[in-house]
């Protein structure tokens, strides 16, 4: 068995991290994704929307959550990992988010172990930005 399977147990917390979502990060994400929607980049335009100001790409927040999974499960996350999330609240440039996760189940099927985890990221005021679940092979 790999170290990823032998060292895991239900209730284990995943090692989250904190990241400030600066406008520079949003701009870089626009370049990476090709998503130059002005709601992310143009304050003048964004001020006329329901949000009243620029917002970060939801996928940027989700990318942070998957960074946590890639770090926790480096040999299996990219080969058999699954996530399902909802975006609960917009993240505004200048806000900080904290990723989190916890293993809620470990199932065995056909001699293979799979961990199910609650995952997400919150703003520092406790507001959920991304909430969901991941399943990751453990070997």
């Amino acid at each position: 068995m790999s170290s990823e399977s032998t060292q895991r147990a239900v209730g284990d917390a995943l090692k989250g991290f904190e990241r400030e979502i600066t406008q520079d990060r949003v701009n870089a994400y626009a370049e990476a994704s090709g998503d130059h929607n002005p709601i992310h980049l143009d304050e003048s335009y964004a001020s006329s929307t329901q949000f009243g100001t620029r917002i970060a790409h939801g996928m940027l927040s989700l990318a942070l959550v998957t960074e946590m999974l890639a770090t926790e499960f480096p040999s299996t996350w990219h080969a058999g990992g699954k996530i399902k999330v909802r975006f609960s609240a917009p993240v505004f440039p200048g806000e900080t988010v904290v990723t989190y996760g916890e293993i809620t189940a470990i199932d065995e099927s056909e001699d293979k172990l799979t961990a199910t985890c609650t995952i997400g990221c919150k703003k520092t005021d406790g507001t959920d930005a991304v909430v969901g679940r991941a399943t990751v092979p453990l070997e």
Binding site: R25, A63, H78, F87
Partner: protein
Amino acid sequence: MVTPLISTATVGHEFGPYDVTIEAERASAYADAVGGGESPDYGDSLAPIMVVAAALTMLIEDLGLFSGGLQTVHAGQEVSWVRQINIGEQVEATGRLAANSIRRGNHFATVAVTYRDSSGTEVGTSSTTIIVSGEAS
């Protein structure tokens, strides 16, 4: 004003194929956007979510969601991945409108996407749910 596709597309409508090959420059921009001291070392490979994001941008454009007056909320996302993808590796994405309903004047749409490598082998799937408002429909 051109009617956005989101207004007329029916379930089963197909999108793409899109070339979502990610070159080094975009991978570097992704690292600038997301990276930090805790980030994993991807080496020559990519975070799968980046490939999904590239396809999503093209889908949004094809759906006409960059049209003036529309406001789009990314409500949900599913991703599953079969194997690692390398920087510069050819990946093609094809989408299918899996749901498209109107509630209280807002469109709720789900697009399912399949990702294949140059041999045609599936390397991942995703499903995106969006809510679109601001449209007379």
